[in-house]
Symmetry: C2
Subunit: 212 residues, 2 copies
């Protein structure tokens, strides 16, 4: 099938999770799985899974289950896992370092090529095999290397301004950890805001309720 055609946005949202679970099954050398077994692993209903995966056609066969490797490959294609989009990271504090070191970018469609920080004392440090450069090198770097994804691990106060500069330098997508909801007035800019604080509050709410 062609990339993403006929797939609803609610299915799209679940794709990274399917992709992850199918990948884990492949590591365990499982070849096929029924919607019922997959539903138990993922905490979705079997009928939801059948509906979702039917969008990709041809990988499920009644009585035989899904061909895990083929389904994983197809979902990966739709997500763009092999795209290798050139990516830069802004902010090399603890969070930036953790992201740079542990995200397996190459398996998630990105290729980290530069890390920048305004803190002079971090300049020259090596993080995930990349030398941290000062922000004053950003413009030249972007003009030469044309990255299109930027990861923002910077304080809230700096986020909007730096994002606007990055858009001028050709950045098309932001993975934003800055505690600030980036709002882009430009069309064709993709923003994924990560609010860890919201996630913690969801946990707190849960504790609040089981302790009732």
């Amino acid at each position: 099938m062609s990339k993403g055609s006929n797939v609803s946005s609610s299915v799209i949202k679940r794709l990274p999770r399917y992709y992850r679970f199918l990948g884990e099954l492949m590591k365990q050398n499982v070849n096929r799985i029924s919607s019922r077994e997959l539903s138990e692993k993922m905490g979705l209903t079997a009928s939801q899974i059948r509906q979702d995966l039917n969008c990709f056609g041809g990988f499920g066969q009644q009585g035989y289950g899904y061909n895990i490797e083929e389904l994983h490959k197809e979902i990966g294609k739709i997500l763009g896992v092999d795209a290798g989009y050139k990516t830069i990271l802004i902010g090399a504090g603890n969070l930036g370092k953790a992201i740079a070191a542990h995200m397996n970018f190459e398996k998630r469609g990105c290729h980290l090529i530069g890390i920048f920080d305004s803190n002079k004392s971090l300049e020259g440090e090596t993080v995930a095999g990349i030398t941290v450069e000062n922000m004053d090198k950003l413009k030249d770097f972007c003009n030469t290397n044309n990255p299109i994804v930027a990861i923002l691990c910077i304080p809230k106060t700096a986020a909007q301004e730096i994002a606007e500069l990055l858009v001028k330098l050709g950045i098309t997508a932001f993975w934003n950890f800055s505690h600030y909801d980036l709002r882009m007035t430009y069309s064709n800019i993709v923003v994924e805001n990560v609010h860890l604080g919201d996630s913690l509050l969801t946990l707190t709410y849960g504790v609040n309720n089981i302790l009732d």
Copy 2:
């Protein structure tokens, strides 16, 4: 109203976000806001917001909008922002350090009281004002201090085993960054799995589609 009564789970999921936006408006000294203005800020429809916030009754008045401070306080109460649940962090690598330093636990219902790592070289280091202790101190610490929330910033391979130990030591809630979907066979355990990789893949999918 009493905590969470008559509030559907889909509204609950949006509560941390309302809480955050209302908090930002308070910082800007805004006292009241209409559902229409709030909808523009949050990217929801005004009718969705009216429906959601009606669950809390009494804070919206037609033609006058919502009393921001009262609504913020009420939502905070439901989420448990002042609960101060005793919290420990397992894993003091870059991610653990970033989480410890930047999460504003006290404003999110948690009180960080201990940090543990199996890496002897991190022992004695101070992170967010807390001395990192070796994992062999965990049991005594839990028996003495009775934490109930654990943040897991540890590798996937160690997650399930450490989580099971922590449950035995009285931990009731897990904020899990370990790239492993914790599944608890015990009832009354709250788990919030954070999958940053899924978030990155959602971004990659977005780039993939705007570049089509």
